[in-house]
Structure formats: structure tokens, C-alpha cells
């Protein structure tokens, strides 16, 4: 099938026209075409999606994006999933600060238990560090405690072994397995006192494009 697409493509047809000719969905044709281009090592990154003829754009899904993000999602009462990516700027900044090549810097996840804490970087109930392999951008963290709020950092280590944060993620909560006294108290206060927002973590916040501009 791909031979035919390539043939039409070489004759200058758009993917839409090819789809019509082959009586296939455009999506299917696009998918095949992308696969083909990926395999034939046509250099194309997520950010350099190009305008092909006739205003047509092709886009290939990258394994991660050029951005700083660290996001954590609960999978169950004892498991979290985190994924991350570090922008080139952040990687370079780490290289600059430590005067060490990125590939030589250890990659470490630090998990903080921040239950009921306004976390500022040093006041977690407890924390643990875990080295992650090179070229990793996601991880499942097991054996956590149910009903706790966690925050993860991705970072590296200083020469004397201290953890150095490169990026901090969102707070996320493992599910409770049973009734919890503290939580019951919070629910009672929420019901009886005039609180504008509850004392527990609610998972959604309004995201703004201009996060740091006030």
C-alpha cells in the first residue's frame, strides 16, 4: 500500500487526493506516510513540522516535547506514575551550573511526602531518592503509602551527594484504603465552617498560559 502512496506522492498529489484515489481515509494515508517517512529517516522533528505543498502539514508524534514538565498521576493507593521532559535550556543550565556534561550528571527522582504541608522544598514529612536510568522519561513508583500527598522532583546530585532539583512537579494523592480520622475532621470543618476551599487536595487547577506573570 505504501508503494502506491509514495508513487502518488512523487507525482505531486496531496495526501487528501491520494486518499480519495485509493478510497482510504486521509488518516490512514497520513499514518502510512508518516510511518514511511519515519523509517526512511527523513529528518523531521515535532517542532519543525513543515508546510508541504498546498498548505498541507504533516506532524509526527514525538516521544516527548521540548518543554519542562514533570507530571504525576496516581495509579492506585500505593502507586504513582510520573512522566517528565526537560527542555534543552534546562539541561544546558544544569551543565553550566555543574560544569559537567548532561550525560555525566546522575538523573534522580526525589519523592516527598507533603501531606497537609505547604511545601517549599525543605519541609517534607519524609522523602526518598531514586536513580533513574539515562534516556528515561517516565516511571512507576510503587510501595507508597495510601492516603498521602506526594510531590516529585527530577534532579541530579552535587559532587558531595546532595540532591539538586531541576524541576518540581504537581502534588498528587494516593487513594485512601479506609476511613481516615484527619480527613473526617476536614470534612466536618468544610461542612460547618465557612471555608472558601477545602483542606484536602483537589486534583484540578486552572492552568494559565501566563503562569508566572501577575
Amino acid at each position: 500500500m505504501i508503494e502506491e502512496i509514495v508513487k502518488w506522492k512523487n507525482e505531486g498529489l496531496t495526501l487528501y487526493e491520494i486518499a480519495e484515489k485509493m478510497n482510504m481515509s486521509v488518516g490512514k494515508v497520513q499514518y502510512r506516510w508518516r510511518q514511511y517517512r519515519k523509517q526512511s529517516s527523513v529528518t523531521e522533528t515535532a517542532h519543525e513540522a513543515e508546510y508541504v505543498e498546498n498548505n498541507e502539514v504533516t506532524w509526527v508524534m514525538p516521544s516527548e516535547y521540548e518543554e519542562d514538565i514533570l507530571y504525576m498521576m496516581p495509579q492506585g493507593p500505593q502507586t504513582m506514575f510520573v512522566y517528565w521532559s526537560l527542555s534543552e535550556g534546562t539541561r544546558k543550565m544544569a551543565e553550566h551550573h555543574f560544569r559537567t556534561a548532561w550525560s555525566d550528571l546522575p538523573k534522580v527522582i526525589k519523592m516527598y511526602d507533603v501531606t497537609d504541608i505547604v511545601f517549599h522544598g525543605h519541609n517534607a514529612h519524609k522523602a526518598f531518592e531514586m536513580d533513574v536510568p539515562e534516556m528515561t522519561n517516565n516511571w512507576f513508583l510503587h510501595n507508597l503509602e495510601p492516603g498521602r500527598t506526594y510531590i516529585a522532583d527530577i534532579g541530579t546530585r552535587t559532587f558531595d551527594g546532595s540532591f539538586f532539583t531541576l524541576l518540581r512537579g504537581n502534588a498528587a494523592e494516593t487513594s485512601f484504603l479506609k476511613e481516615d480520622e484527619r480527613m473526617s475532621e476536614k470534612v466536618r470543618r468544610w461542612k460547618t465552617e465557612n471555608q472558601s476551599e477545602p483542606e484536602w487536595l483537589e486534583n484540578y487547577s486552572v492552568y494559565s498560559y501566563y503562569q508566572k506573570i501577575r
Partner: protein, 928 residues
Amino acid sequence: MAHGYIAFVLHAHLPYVRHREANRLEERWLFEAITETYIPLLWILEEKKAANFSISFSPPLLEMLADPVLQRRYAEHLDSLRNLAKKEERRQEPDDAQLVRHYKDRFDRVYDTFLKYDSSILKAFKHYDKEGVIECFTSAATHAFLPYIQTEQALRCQISSGISAFEKHFGRKPEGFWLPECAFTPGVDKILAEEGIRYTFVDEHTIRSSSPGPRYDIGAPCYSPHGVALFPRNQEMSSKIWSSSTGYPGDFEYREFYRDIAYEREWNYIKPHMHPEGFRIDSGFKHKRITGHAEEKEAYVPLAAQQKAKMHAAHFAASADEISAENDAQCYPPHLITAPFDAELFGHWWYEGPDFLSALFREQMTKTEWTTPQEYLQRHYRDLDTVHASFSTWGRDGYGDVWLNHKNAWMYRHLHKCERELIKCAAGLQHAYKPLKQRCFDQMVREWMLAASSDWAFIIDGGTAAQYAGERFNQHVAHFNELLIHFYSQHLSNSTIQHYEKEFPFLTEINFKEFYSLHDEYVEQHYSEPKTDGKNILMLSWEYPPMVVGGLSRHVYDLSRKLAEQGHNVYVITSFVDGYPEHEINEKVHVYRVRGAQPHFNDFFHWTGSLNAAIAAQGTELGKKITFDCIHAHDWLVSVAAARLKQDLNIPLIATIHATESGRNKGIFSPMQHEIHQKEADLAFHADKVIVCSEYMRKEVQSLFGLQDEKLSVLPNGIDPNLVKKPEHGHIPAASHHEATIFSVGRAVREKGFQTIIDASAIFRAKGRSIRFVIAGKGPMLEELRQAAKDRGVEEDVWFTGFVSDEERNQWLFSCDAALFPSHYEPFGIVALEGMAAGKLTIVSDTGGLSEIIDHEQNGLKIIPQDPASIVWAIEYMLSDRDRAKQIAAAGHEAALTVFNWEKIADATVDVYESCLKKLIYTGGLAK
């Protein structure tokens, strides 16, 4: 007699499988569900008088059922089925007769029903909903797994678009909402409540593990904290149907799902009813019953199976009665069994399911009444507990394992990115109405929504049809990102968007408003690009008032204020100070105080590293809205952030090097000094221009970092005469028996040379003269200095005040006889200017910047560094000729106010900026 209740709830959902081209295999999921589930459900409704069950229709299903193209394709599909039924009649063998008849009658009836409702079975459900025979509601727009949505806006979009879709097809707002996969998480209920939803469904462990523990276990719904009633699934009842080992559908009399005549008939006979590309697919004619575990299956006997369905209905009713009886003590509210199921289970997976339901709803129970969630709430809304429930689902293991595991976890990164891109686009759309862009945006929302359907992750987890799910997900994410490129391009055209719209005409009427953020709107309005002709300057300094550690803070403060006063827009990013705002506009200067991720890192060097990351993040963020002309960074402490921002913002970097580590320490000796020295070198290297405060510093910086001459500019520091004013109040201890008071100020560090003062004082004492030296300022050497004064027996003549405020400093300055600055190393020596500005004779070491400020015996006196005798000489010079000393002080005063004037220095600084901008324009490197 006390009664319990049962609420029977069906959730009808299929992913959106309408494709532009016909004969997609997945389209048959819909056709089979219509034939086997949705139309048989209508037959049940046709017989019924009162509502005793509820049904939720997911928006994708609503859209597909109402789609004329799919209706036409379904009609063709039905034709084919009925033709096959006729052919079967002709070819029948004696033992088939009953089954052949069964299928023919059934498909004829399906056909009649479909025609009766004008091809739109949704209209029929709407009719029964209106009549009160059934209670309908809906789900999230594309059945997204809500706890794994990242932003509140996207969550709201899934919920409110689902509600709009329901309104469009049912003509009213729903009161209930099916949480896809019963997936609840704190916060979902807030949006549901805000969108007017009164109830939803969760699994039983959701309520059992909630806090405070529910009074009646799962025998009643509980309110979520935001007031949405959560009806807990009763697993004991649902397992009677769901359980793969003991559930009713596994009964041997029931029809075998996996035996279809499609695989038994000759190809030529069956071909017209198979896929046009020439392969066999299920026909819907199944002639075997489950029989047992053996491969050999016996003939299916519809009547026997229907009989069995009735028995199972009776058993189900009796089980409900048993549970009600066990709980008949419960009242306020009375006991409720909530029994929610996937609708397609009945008919499609369990062929006799509709027969079971039909029989079940006729059952007369002794202890249990039928109810609906809505009815139950109306009666008992006052009697429900409020609980906090945590993240949970009705899936395997009760949490997220089905939708988030090693097979499908990769999907969420892409979905979340879409959400954030939508919010970014929305921020840009808020202002001007751009119809084409809006349409492009709306289509992007649709593509994201279609990609976010929980079905894809579910199917990929399961393995069957995983390729299709993966392709669909990829396709929608790709469409989204292609549209995103179009959104920002100049080439956006009607036909481009149309291509995408036609491919999946889902929720076409809706405009999506949920992605706007009030904050972004505020920023868009209040942060419009500064309109002045001035430059937009991004200023980086680790210290800024009120944080004052050395002279740097004061310098950046004076420079930024003066630049702002001259009409430039100055944005200073500096480190946080507890109790001070993160952002303020102070004398027209924007000040951002940022906090690193580890604001109390115990190692100062890494503390600055952490701070630099925060400075860079803030700078990048500001760069989204403000087109900066250049960055002006001060000293090595911001070197890392400066280099990054220069790269990210693609603008010139100007660095002021106020002092060097090597100069301060007379060389580089420790590893830490080496690291700092490197950061200074990096800053000098990355900078397009380096500013130093004196010729002395120019030489130092040049020799240390090997900079080209033209890269360096010498600009002196300035002084604000307003800050050196004679105080109106306050007094200082008078000099009781002293001939004169000599004032020094500076950090108590070695390079300030205060120990030489102690030595000079000892000389005076030996000479029998009484001179009072006052040394103001604190620092690491303060105690050592105090001890030295004691050891030398001059503690009465050398006073250490410790830290002084500006006001106290001024009191000393104006009441002393001379100001003395005996530094060994002084890149500039702003303190000398302060002495001169106060009109005092100023005595300085002949070193560094100090020697450039003072013209010996013209506007001040110079002494030899580290030579106490030289200090003695200068003071005796003053005491011997007070008039001459006054003339020199007056000349110093004049120089301070004219040569070191901030107005002139700010102008010169802007000239340095300009020279960088020009250079960039020549090389074509400037982005704007």
C-alpha cells in the same frame, strides 16, 4: 412495613467510530449494539408504564445515533441482515427451522422499530424520557477518563460539552452524569456541581473507604464535598451478571457468542454479507448455545433460553429482596441497592439480556421497590451523609490500572500537552474575534476530545483491536498538532479546517469557551506590550532592596530607577525576601522576587544554582508577553540564568562585573573560589558587552578573562545625593575627649583594611594624641577586629557600631571630621562618593577604583594601602590645616554631584545597550 429500594442503571456508550468512508469494521460495533441492545431496550420501554430504570447515553453515542449518514448505513446493514435471513429460510435444514424463524422475525421486528422511529431511535428514547417512562442522562463529552485530565479547563470542557450534547438531543439538561469508568477523584465533583449535576455513580469501595465512614455502608448514596450525590455500585448484585464464573450470562442454555454462521457457510453463499474487502466477519446469526466448556456446541434453543432468562430475573429479584430484608432496619434514608451496568452487556454480549430485563422489571418484589436515583434523591436528599472520597474506578483492582499501565501510560503526555496548547491558544483568542481561528480552535478541541476517549487506553490495555485504538489516538493527536501549526500560521484557510471537520463531524455545533482563563485575560489586558519608545530591559541581580548584602543591591536599585525614570521599561528579577511581594512596581520598576525549588540549600553555591533556575523560569515567562531588547546581568551569581535567557530569548546580554573572586582574595586558592571564578568567566564569555566600574577593573577583568578591548566599557558607579542628606533628628555619641572623629563604613571583611585603622590608632595613642575612629558595618571579621582593638589597648579609640541604617550612617557621616576608606581591594568604592557627597574630607587607599575617584590633595587624600603610618599622615595633614581640608572636601562634594551622577551613567548604560542592538541587526541575529 419497611421497604428497600433498587435503582437499575444502564450506561450506553461506544467510542465515536463514524468514519468518512464506509465499511469500517469498527462501525459495526454501533450496528450490532443498535440491533442487539438499543432497539430491544426500546421494546421493553414500549411495554412499560412507569420508570424503573435509568439510562445514560454518552455523547459519542448520541452523536452517532443522530447521524443521518450512519442511519443510512445502518439501514443498509439491516437490509443485508434481512436478506441473509431470507436466504437462510431457503437453505434451511429441518433442525434449523426454529432458529431460522427466530432470526427472521427478530430482524424484521428490529427493522419495523427502526422505521417506526424514522431511523432515529434517539427520538424514541427522548419520547420515553419526556413521558417519564425512563430517566435519561449523559456522560463526559468523549468519555474521557476524568481523573487523568490535567487542567480544570479541560475537565470542565469534557463535562459541560457532554451536558450540551445531551441538551441538544434531549431538549433538557441532565440531572445525572455517568463518570466514565466510574472514575472519581476529588475536584471532579466541584465541576459537576457547578455545571448543575446532582448525582453520579461510583464503585462500592469508593464509598467504603471514604471519610467519615458512611453510616449505611453502601446502602445509601453519600454527598461528595461539593454536594453531588455519589451512588455506590452494589457489587454483590452486579456480580450476579458480571461475574465471569458464576454470572447468569454464562449459563449453558444461553447463546454462544463466538459461534457465528459466517465462519460455517460457504464463501459464495455468505460473501454478499461479509466485508467488501473479502473477509469473514460476524453475521449476527449464531446457532449454538454455550452448552458447556467443551469445544462441541449444541444447537441454540431460543425458547429455552428465554425461560432461563425469566428464572434468572426471578433470582435477581429474590436476591434484591434478601438484601433489603437484611437491611430493613435502615431508614432516613431507606436502604438502596444501586445496580449500574454497561448497557451493551444486555443483548450484545448477553444475547438474552433484554429478555432478562423485560422479565426483571415485571417482577413483584416483597421487600424492594424500584426507584431511580432522581426519585430517591427527591425523597431523601436531606438524609444523606457528606464524605470525602478518593480516586477510584470500577476497573480491575478498583483504581487506574486498566487506563494507566506500561502499555498505555505514554498517551497522557500527549493529551496533557493538547490541553495546555488549547489554553495558550485561548489566551490569544480572548481579545480579538477571529472567526477562522476560532473555528480552527474549536476543531482542535474536538480532536483533543476524541483522542481523550477512555476507550483507546482501555482497548490498548485489553489487546483486541489495539491497533485501531492506537491509530485513532495517533490520528487525533496528529490532527490536533497539525491544526495547531495552522492556527499560528498565516496560511490558515477555510478549506484546511474543513478537511478536518469533515473527517469527524463530532459536536459540530458547539463553540468551546472553557479554555479561557481569567488570569490570562487579565494579563492580556494589563500586560500589553509597553507603548513607550524606551527599551525593554530584563535586569538580573541576586540582591535588590530590601535585600542589601553588599553595594550591588544599591547599584542595581539606583540604575533601574534612573532607567525607568528616563522612560525605559525595567523588569528586575531577584531573589525572594520573606514578607515582600513576589511582584511589585516600585518607582516604575517591575520587581519580581523568585524562590528556588530549594530556597534553603545549605551550600551557597548550589543555593545560587537553584535561584538561577527560578530566575530563568521567570524570565522565560515574562518573555512570552514582553519583547525584551536586552538582558543586563550583575555578577556571577546570575551567570547561569543569564546565559540561558540569552539563548531562550535570543537577545543581547550585557553583564556588569562589579568585583571578581580573584581580586577579592588576591588569587584563586580554594575549589569554591575556582567555581565562582569560572562562573565569572562564563558570564564575561556569554555577554555581548561587559561593563566595569573603573579602569582598574578593566585591567583586572581583561587579564583574568582575556576579553577583547571593545567588549569592555568603563562606567563609574553613581551616587544619589538624596540618600546622603543631613539627618534632622537623632544624635550620635559625642566625642568626649577626642580631637577628631574619623568615620569608616563597609563590610567587616579583610579587603576593607579596617585592621590598618587599629594599627594607626595605636600609633596615635603612642604619640599621646586622641583620635576617635568609628567603623560601621558588620561582617565575618567583626569579632576578630574587636578583639584586635582590645589586644592593642585602643578599644576606647576604635569604636565598632555593627550594622547601621542609612540614617545612622548619615548621622555619622555628617558629624565626623573625615571619612576614611583604607581598602586593599576596591573595584570602585561607592562609599568614598558618599563621604564626598556629605562634604567631608575623604581619605582613601590608593588602590582600585578608589584611586580613580580621588585626585590627591585636590578633592580628597590618598594613602598607601595597608600602611598605618600613611593614615596617621593624612589625619595629621587635616588637623594641621583645617581650612585646606575644607577646600578639598568642597571640591570632593562638587565631583560627587557632577561626575558620578546617575543621570549621566544611565545614559551611558543605554549607549552600551544600543551598541549591542546595532551589532545584532548587522549580523541579522535579532528576532524582531
